[in-house]
Symmetry: C2
């Protein structure tokens, strides 16, 4: 094991693209984010796909029982290994020590879906912990597609996120990362149970699959609850935009597998990628077809009004902005708002989040100032040319 | 008494400006209307002033007891006299026989505030009557400022309507018309009671004064009810945009005197024009001052969103359109929406009404088509250049 390359080391999340001058409101530094590209299979309904796997280092206690010294050592080992990977031309690894990052940097990482809320807070699954818990995140730049959380619920959670329905490709990404890390670190593995994880529901493959779906059609036709129950019966969990406990503003839903034990990675993935998600996509497309049939005028009215509000409001709360952006996205995808660029909408989904807003405006904002800055941003980016 | 000049005779309300080709959505044939000019005293709060007086022909029973033959004779006498007035250069008299006009023509006259709803319907104050009741309206063109309803509640109701707070000028207008008519017709007059009218509350001076006020500030600060009670205590009635029984969408209120007996015309007018209305104007301006002080951002947000909706909606009901136009008018008058022309807003207040919408689009519209045409009109006229 070699020493980590000191060059691209910890500067916090802002390292990504923190310019000397605060960028103009219309610049959009979040646009490189892979999962906002709006491309890939079924991208009219599936915003992004994500695969996470859990790994733990052999010879160390799980996070649930580890001492702080153990956690510090795990962090150091993982960090060295990750900083030392061969990433290929044009890529580099960003490392962020979350225990020394500012709250704003951590929040920006949550908004970019690179760390979980609990990881940002340093809250351990035991309920203990806090902001100075030794923990970190590694992100492969420039795409931010592949990343790893250190000392979240497990020692390592490896993630890949891609736009559209692309669970296969995501799994290939994390498999690659898994293999690369394993070249220098031993993972806890049981010949019968497979990879061992802190939470029993992850034992075996440790695989967590999820897709971010945009289901405004089902919502507007009143069929969302039915579809949601069907998804639940098929073993899926449906959550809001920011995962567990968050609201589904804008009708963006994270659909994920509930359990991993007893099914192979391949089975889980085939089921979700090839059966369940396509079925939900079909439901949503059918609902949109109805909206564009009988209810075309009222649908057009609804999405156009949402655009009008985003283009004119002087104050916008995040939840309302998400709701309006969700409607505008529906309008764009359905061809009802040809004047709006889908990239702009996707960029705003991220840019309107509190921490990103602060980075874009280049200053710390009170909640009232955020509402104003958020509206300024929407007007500037969605304004008529 | 000479025969009426046959030239400008009854062609219905559409005679005003009915072009061969339906005019484009942005043309705005209603813009000549005096009370929409947005000029005059206190025009930030007072949209228009109106004076009506009631007169009845001597030797004929009042409308409450007249036979149809009496009413037909009254109509004929008034029509001849009105068509024969010396109007001065550049003016002409438009006559509309309401019993032969189309419902759409009658509705357009109501929307232009030239006849009352009951007059449009031919409904007598006794509850009897119907569309074929002999009745008419005379309007001096091109301003449409001075007009006369024949066989409404009284044989004659003379009206003048002007923009801003201008009850003096309106009274001078109807006095002139009164005098001109009286040169050729005798009015029922009692040496002790004054002019006699069908409804006892009008006896004496027969004078009805009203101003159309825009009170969004009082509404938004929650003080409208208090101001409304105060106005009531001062002997005023407050009604909606289209008078008795109509709603005050957009916070446009018709404020009028309740009784006429026992006070001279001059007293009534001085009281309303110089005391009561200016006091209400003061309340409204004070409320707007508060909105532009502490609550400037939320007020700006509210009026800008209203503009955004008008500029983007694909379907608009009349009541909602009035509400939104009222907010936009507040924004324009307060300098929060410098990009919007007040004339455009005033023009739309009339143009979005059902009968005007049909005239503008040049075809008969179902209610659903009206909602769509109304939204098209608002987008076209308020669209960004």
């Amino acid at each position: 094991m070699t020493e980590p390359d000191p060059k691209p080391k910890s500067h916090g999340a802002g390292d990504l693209p923190e310019p000397k001058q605060p960028p103009a409101l219309s610049s959009g530094f979040e646009r490189g984010v892979e999962w906002l590209r709006g491309a890939g299979d079924a991208s009219d309904v599936v915003l992004s796909s994500r695969v996470r796997i859990a790994r733990n280092l052999a010879g160390f206690p799980f996070m649930t029982t580890a001492e702080r010294a153990d956690r510090a050592q795990v962090l150091e080992l993982c960090k060295r290994r990750l900083m030392n990977l061969a990433l290929g031309e044009g890529r580099r690894m960003l490392w962020v020590d979350l225990h020394t990052a500012t709250p704003d940097e951590r929040d920006a990482l949550v908004e970019r879906q690179l760390i979980s809320r609990n990881h940002a807070k340093g809250k351990l699954s035991t309920g203990a912990g806090g902001q100075d818990e030794p923990r970190g995140v590694a992100v492969i730049l420039p795409e931010e597609r592949i990343s790893a959380m250190i000392n979240e619920e497990d020692h390592l959670r490896l993630q890949s996120i891609r736009s559209g329905l692309a669970l296969d490709e995501c799994l290939a990404d994390v498999d690659w990362l898994d293999d690369e890390i394993e070249k220098g670190l031993d993972f806890a593995f049981h010949p019968r149970f497979g990879y061992l994880t802190a939470c029993p529901t992850n034992v075996g493959t440790g695989l967590r699959l999820s897709v971010m779906m945009h289901l405004p059609g089902l919502k507007m036709t009143g069929e969302l609850e039915k579809a949601s129950r069907a998804a639940h019966d098929m073993g899926l969990a449906i959550r809001g935009f920011h995962g567990e406990g968050s609201e589904a503003n804008g009708e963006f839903y994270q659909v994920s597998n509930q359990t991993t034990l007893g099914k192979s990675d391949a089975m889980l993935l085939r089921e979700l990628n090839d059966e369940i998600v396509p079925r939900l996509v079909g439901y949503e497309r059918h609902a949109r077809g109805r909206l564009l049939g009988d209810r075309r005028e009222t649908t057009h009215d609804t999405v156009a009004r949402a655009l009008g509000t985003l283009r004119h409001a002087r104050l916008l709360r995040a939840a309302e902005a998400m709701e309006l952006l969700g409607l505008v996205r529906l309008g764009v995808v359905c061809g009802l708002l040809p004047e709006v660029n889908l990239d702009t909408v996707h960029g705003l989904l991220l840019a309107i989040q509190p921490a990103h807003l602060q980075r874009i405006t280049g200053r710390v904002l009170t909640p009232a100032e955020r509402r104003s800055a958020r509206a300024d941003l929407c007007r500037a980016r969605l304004g008529l040319r």
